[in-house]
């Protein structure tokens, strides 16, 4: 009888100890709320419990919380708190969590490493894949053809927009030739800088050499800030070609891509096409035709900041 009482007492103490430890999350890194079946992503309306591997969570100071079906929607909310949760302020967010892709555990969003442009898709398509440390992010990046690893502060509304537009294409390592036949590596020429790539051809009836000159104006104004410009064409101009004199005044490199491989790698389907690429190699703007090149300037100044 005594022994039975001792066992019961010990069990009670054990239960109490377990309860106390359960109630105190380790180092304050555990989220204070659990997912319910009725929780919906405030951005897209999805029921989040269906995608446990992708869950993200933001808890506000007043105790209200939001679950998301991926880091991308978390950032969309984060960048526009007023829109998706009227009456709330970004300052009111107490803690943010994302799910580590390898460990399938919630980790703090601000200390996580995010891989973009990999071949792994989330429920909402192209995603930011969160990892708890740089090593696992790097391992994933190499295994899944990711392009860059971003920290929380490096994720901007433009990055999120580029995921949705699916225009992110890294600068391919292709070899082009200049007018003298010398080989030039495109990725070396651009070298992690903001770049404008103008695809055109002397034989193309829609390509206007005036555009080359107006792009040169843009190049002149921003070259000091590390802005690179390259014109790429398929046809090598003949000596004494009437067209060649027209772009004598062009000061940026004009390269020849006889195979058309570069244009294909960038998904260029029409001539002329102008691409604005940021320093991470993400295509931020695509303009088909000549009009609208002037409008690039606003985005360009933003990228160069």
């Amino acid at each position: 009888m005594m022994r039975a009482k001792t066992y019961i007492g010990a069990a009670l103490v054990l239960a109490l100890v377990l309860f106390i430890f359960r109630a105190k999350p380790a180092l304050g890194q555990e989220p204070s709320v659990a997912i319910k079946k009725s929780d919906r992503c405030p951005v897209c309306g999805m029921f989040v419990y269906k995608y446990p591997k992708w869950v993200a969570l933001a808890v506000f100071g007043d105790g209200e919380y939001f679950f998301y079906d991926g880091a991308k929607d978390l950032f969309k909310h984060y960048f526009n708190v007023q829109k998706f949760s009227p009456g709330k302020n970004p300052e009111g967010i107490r803690e943010i969590f994302v799910t580590d892709y390898y460990e399938v555990k919630l980790i703090e969003a601000k200390s996580a490493y995010y891989v973009i442009d990999s071949n792994v898709l989330g429920p909402m398509g192209h995603e930011l894949l969160p990892f708890k440390d740089r090593e696992s992010a790097q391992e994933f990046l190499e295994d899944h053809k990711g392009r860059s690893i971003l920290r929380f502060d490096e994720v901007t509304p433009e990055v999120i927009a580029s995921l949705d537009r699916r225009t992110e294409k890294p600068v391919p390592s292709v070899t082009l030739t200049d007018f003298n036949g010398k080989n030039v590596q495109l990725s070396e020429l651009i070298g992690g800088r903001v770049a404008l790539l103008h695809f055109w051809d002397i034989k193309c009836p829609h390509c206007n050499t005036d555009a080359l000159v107006s792009i040169d104006g843009l190049y002149q104004r921003y070259r000091d800030k590390g802005f690179v410009t390259v014109a790429i064409q398929e046809t090598r101009p003949e000596k004494g070609d009437a067209g060649i004199r027209k772009y004598d005044g062009v000061t940026y490199p004009m390269l020849i891509d006889a195979s058309g491989k570069t244009a294909r790698r960038f998904g260029v389907i029409a001539m002329p096409t102008t691409l604005l690429v940021d320093e991470k190699g993400v295509v931020r703007k695509t303009i088909e035709g000549d009009s609208g090149i002037d409008a690039l300037e606003k985005l360009l100044t933003k990228l160069l900041k």
Partner: protein, 331 residues
């Protein structure tokens, strides 16, 4: 193609319906050209016997057609886990270019099939086949749409590729899209849209009850009920759905059919479609009130249609109002 029971059910229903309608049209054309009730000709007698079979076949086919639009949306909803980016029927329908055109033509064939059933029922009230030529003219009008629907639906289901990244309804019906019908509907001011909905619904219901009681204003009610159908669909996208979802930015007209929302969408859409078909049917039958063999049965049938339509609209409004009143969302 994705071999899924619902996909097969959709395609089989579509092929069966179109085949039967084409078969019926073959005799329908003969009736249109050779029908003469005063003649005792052998062909006339054969046609008179045949019309009973054809009417029965078509009644079943068109009743099936009424359900097929709901089956189509149900299938699109059920398939959404297969497509990256899709979270409800809206995303699945966006997987290729044929999803939404099929849905639109299904709405049209739903209306036409409903009208045919109404016309057929009215025709059966008279002993001398008073509306037989109208009935088969309408059938001849429906056939091309049924064939087109089958082609589009086949193209849609056969062209479903699981590796396509589609858009979720959150972006299709979003203010950020800045193009397309979804954006136009979403960007309508919600408060103004709610006023338009309630005021026009009040006018429609008043007109319907007035017609039921006094027998006047039938054409007006018919036009109003057709317009009300469009206003109601726009209202669902504009201000009703955010209250159902309790999310201020979520305007999808498809998520409401999901189990998580207690399938309320199917109920709302069934009420709307019933109301519109009965309302338009009221106007379609009004010119035949003077037909001798149809009095007084047709007058009673028309008024029943009007009250069924009015009742469905009233029920729709009541449910919507309840949803808004009980919603946790404040706008």
């Amino acid at each position: 193609m994705i071999l899924h029971p619902e996909v097969i059910a959709n395609l089989l229903a579509s092929y069966a319906a179109t085949f039967m309608v084409i078969y019926a049209t073959f005799y329908g054309v003969q009736i249109l050209r050779r029908w003469d009730i005063r003649s005792g000709d052998e062909l006339q007698l054969a046609l008179e016997r045949k019309t009973y079979l054809i009417s029965t076949v078509l009644t079943y086919v068109f009743a099936l057609q009424l359900f097929s639009i709901f089956l189509y949306v149900f299938t699109a909803d059920a398939l959404c886990p297969l497509f990256v980016g899709a979270m409800c029927a809206a995303g699945t329908l966006n997987v290729n270019a044929f999803g939404y055109p099929t849905l639109l033509i299904k709405i049209l064939t739903f209306m036409l099939a409903g009208l045919w059933l109404i016309l057929n029922h009215a025709d059966n009230q008279g002993y001398d086949y008073p509306l037989i030529k109208k009935k088969y003219s309408l059938l001849a009008f429906i056939v091309p749409f049924m064939i087109l629907e089958t082609i589009l639906e086949s193209a849609y289901f056969l062209g479903l590729k699981a590796d396509v990244i589609t858009s979720c309804c959150g972006s299709l019906f979003s203010i950020e899209r800045e193009a397309g019908l979804g954006f136009i509907l979403v960007s309508l001011p919600e408060r103004a849209m709610a006023w338009i909905f309630y005021v026009s619904m009040l006018c429609t219901l008043t007109c319907g009850i007035f017609f039921y009681r006094r027998g006047r204003g039938g054409y007006l009610y018919s036009i109003l009920s057709a317009m009300m159908f469009v206003v109601s669909i726009i209202s669902i996208v504009s201000f009703i759905s955010p209250y159902v979802y309790e999310l201020p930015t979520h305007h999808c007209p498809f998520c409401i059919v999901m189990r998580e929302y207690h399938y309320i969408g199917y109920f709302l859409y069934m009420l709307l479609f019933t109301a519109a078909v009965c309302g338009i049917g009221t106007g379609a039958l009004l010119p035949f009130r003077g037909v001798q063999s149809l009095t007084p049965a047709l007058g009673i049938f028309i008024r029943r249609l009007a009250i069924a339509s009015t009742g469905s609209y009233a029920a729709f409004t009541a449910i919507v109002t309840c949803e808004i009143a009980s919603s946790n969302l404040m706008m």
